[in-house]
């Protein structure tokens, strides 16, 4: 611990998602000088979205490194750096390009500890934006987290608020194991909330109840929480009280929180941006089947992207789940006798 800042315990500030991430990276780099940031354009440019803005100036090119354009080696050298005692925070510029690093993420980083029986640990955070709605070119918007969720040894988090982004990023960086930290592209500037300025850690594996309700629970994560919240407002006007559970942590999954919500509400809608088939919503449903089958008053509804590749800009608003589709699904599940 090379530096600890003096911040009043209760100080906080409204930030958007990007600001919260940037602020956290600064704090964690000050706190522990083993923390390094590496990736494409993270240095002088401060990241294509400015998530790493200012880091290069403060911490220098030795700790904030513009890598060549090669995702596998960003993750692969991170594994080596971690084994050598550094704490790499690697950026994959868009999650769709994590495919290029899949063998290093799933095949190497995730099993380094297991393979070496603890001799080496891959204390690596891999940050990456994902998700649609902002008219990006191909593969930038793809919500491919389910491609990683079956990989043992890897943790995956996807916060939906700036405050959680801070708390979970700090926790991820301090976690001894590899964490895939997923940032909602569409929410980078749109999501804004109060972020504690001092030490703020959010345990990985704990869901967050965003708003209370009793007729139905909407389970979502990342930007879909925002969609769910807007749906809930609309539903409230119709007299339907929807609870919203933000998973936040995909792996580990907060099975207890899910079970509790299902028990309380009896009816469930799961919302995901990914294509339906084998998206992570399937695991949520399978988990509910395991823990809460008898609490269900109707089949779980899932609202997903369609089983088509993420489409071009003119089509995307009809691909990503929107408020209308969530509202309709809630109505269906609530009306089921």
């Amino acid at each position: 611990m090379s530096h600890v800042e003096e911040i009043p315990d209760d100080a906080s500030q409204e930030m958007n998602m990007l600001e919260a991430i940037n602020h956290t990276l600064h704090q964690e780099m000050r706190r522990d000088e083993r923390v390094m940031v590496l990736g494409e354009d993270v240095g002088h440019n401060g990241g294509v979205f400015r998530a790493t803005d200012g880091l290069h100036t403060e911490f220098g090119g030795d700790r904030v490194v513009d890598t060549p354009l090669a995702e596998a080696v960003i993750v692969g050298t991170s594994v080596g750096l971690a084994a050598a005692g550094q704490i790499p925070v690697a950026e994959i510029q868009f999650l769709g390009f994590a495919y290029q690093a899949m063998h290093q993420i799933a095949g190497q980083a995730a099993r380094l500890r297991f393979r070496t029986r603890g001799r080496f640990q891959a204390r690596i955070t891999i940050r990456s934006p994902f998700g649609g709605g902002v008219r990006t070119p191909e593969l930038h918007s793809d919500s491919i987290l389910s491609q990683f969720a079956n990989v043992p040894g890897l943790k995956i988090v996807a916060p939906s608020s700036a405050s959680d982004a801070k708390g979970m990023l700090a926790t991820a960086i301090r976690d001894p194991d590899p964490v895939l930290f997923l940032e909602p592209l569409r929410g980078y500037r749109m999501i804004k909330d109060e972020v504690p300025l001092g030490e703020h850690l959010v345990e990985l594996g704990k869901a967050r109840t965003v708003s209370d309700g009793s007729d139905v629970v909407i389970i979502a994560w990342s930007y879909m929480v925002d969609v769910a919240m807007r749906a809930a407002t609309e539903l409230a006007n119709e007299g339907i009280s929807a609870r919203i559970v933000d998973l936040r942590s995909i792996v580990p999954l907060d099975t207890e929180a899910i079970a509790q919500a299902v028990e309380d509400c009896g009816r469930v809608v799961v919302v995901q941006e990914a294509p339906e088939t084998n998206g992570f919503a399937s695991e949520v449903i399978a988990t509910i089947n395991d823990t809460s089958f008898y609490s269900l008053e109707a089949p779980v509804e899932r609202v997903s992207g369609w089983d088509a590749p993420y489409p071009t800009g003119q089509l995307e608003d009809f691909y990503v789940p929107d408020v209308g589709r969530v509202v309709a699904a809630v109505r269906r599940v609530v009306e089921t006798p």
Binding site: E40, V48, F318
Partner: protein, 335 residues
């Protein structure tokens, strides 16, 4: 060996370079007006793409672009630009360049097009077609495994393929010096066992020359060539980029002094083949073509239901079911 260029060729090349610049700038503005999505201007690379295209046979050869090149591939037919306009408008048909145009749509996942080019070249070789595949990739994209894996395999196959590395000095904010310690990008060909050469990418005639030779090698069965064409990126990386954060001003100013358009214009003027009037006319023509393409594309936006098309040759039952749900929710045509 190299086919000599007629005056008409030379004038067409100048026209295409100007057309590329104009289209690229219109596309940029279109994004600023909120009418198009993120796009990547070609400014600085016109000589490379137009020069290379001139050395190819559009009825026999294939071009696999990265994403900046489509505006400069007029030689392969107007369809390339027309599709590109749809592409930046977010129209799915932007990915469709109709038969028989031998050009692939833009590739976003960097360097993944390189193995595709090698595969196509290999396929042509197998069936005895006389032709080659030319693939463009950026300096930054050479750092991806796909480039090396594909180029290495191409060497073994002696496939009729030409790799053109457009070295514009930058990969977004990352300068070449952070990309590789190799002497230059041409030197990478030593890893693959075929010739590599560096050419001044602001000199369209030099580009024409080396690509012509590479094509000759390719179609005669002598195998691949790696060409590094050196230029400088004269515009932001894309509409989403702010190069003042990282690009040294003096470099940019110096590079503007080596603008490939100016250079070729001077050359042709000196030969009495080009006048300022020609420039004005070429610009106006290009603008009109672009305008027409934009009008056509904007007038004929996609029905979002098309997202269910072309996933498979025949939709699966599940996709059919989803499509029905979609119609129930959005209607047959929510445009």
């Amino acid at each position: 060996m190299t086919r000599p260029l007629s005056d008409d060729d030379l004038r067409a090349m100048m026209t295409h370079m100007i057309g590329a610049r104009v289209s690229s700038q219109r596309a940029f503005n279109l994004q600023r007006q909120g009418r198009a999505g993120t796009n990547a201007p070609i400014d600085g690379s016109e000589a490379i793409v137009v020069g290379a295209a001139r050395a190819l046979d559009p009825t026999a050869d294939w071009v696999l672009p990265q994403y900046r090149e489509p505006v400069a591939l007029q030689r392969f037919g107007p369809e390339v630009l027309e599709s590109y306009v749809r592409y930046i408008l977010g129209d799915p048909d932007g990915g469709h360049i109709p038969e028989p145009v031998r050009v692939w749509p833009p590739q976003i996942s960097l360097a993944t097009q390189v193995p595709h080019a090698v595969g196509m070249a290999w396929g042509m070789k197998r069936t005895g077609e006389t032709g080659c595949a030319l693939v463009f990739l950026g300096d930054g994209s050479t750092s991806e495994g796909d480039f090396y894996e594909a180029a290495n395999f191409a060497g073994v196959l002696r496939a009729p393929v030409i790799f053109v590395v457009v070295n514009n000095g930058w990969a977004i904010s990352t300068p070449v010096a952070s990309q590789t310690a190799a002497k230059n990008f041409a030197a990478k060909s030593h890893a693959f066992g075929f010739p590599g050469t560096t050419v001044d990418g602001t000199d369209i005639l030099a580009v024409y020359e080396v690509v012509s030779e590479a094509r000759e090698r390719a179609v005669s069965g002598a195998g691949p060539t790696l060409i590094e064409a050196v230029t400088y990126r004269l515009a932001p990386h894309t509409t989403a980029d702010d190069p003042t954060r990282y690009m040294p001003d003096d470099e940019l100013v110096a590079a503007r002094g080596r603008d490939p358009l100016t250079r070729f214009q001077k050359e042709l003027s000196g030969r009495g083949l080009w006048s300022d009037d020609d420039t004005t006319r070429a610009e106006a023509d290009a603008d009109a073509v672009m305008e027409a393409a934009i009008q056509a594309a904007e007038a004929d936006r996609a029905n979002p239901i098309e997202l269910f098309d072309h996933v498979h040759a025949i939709r699966t039952t599940r996709l059919e079911r989803q499509r029905r749900e979609w119609i129930d929710h959005y209607g047959e045509d929510p445009r």
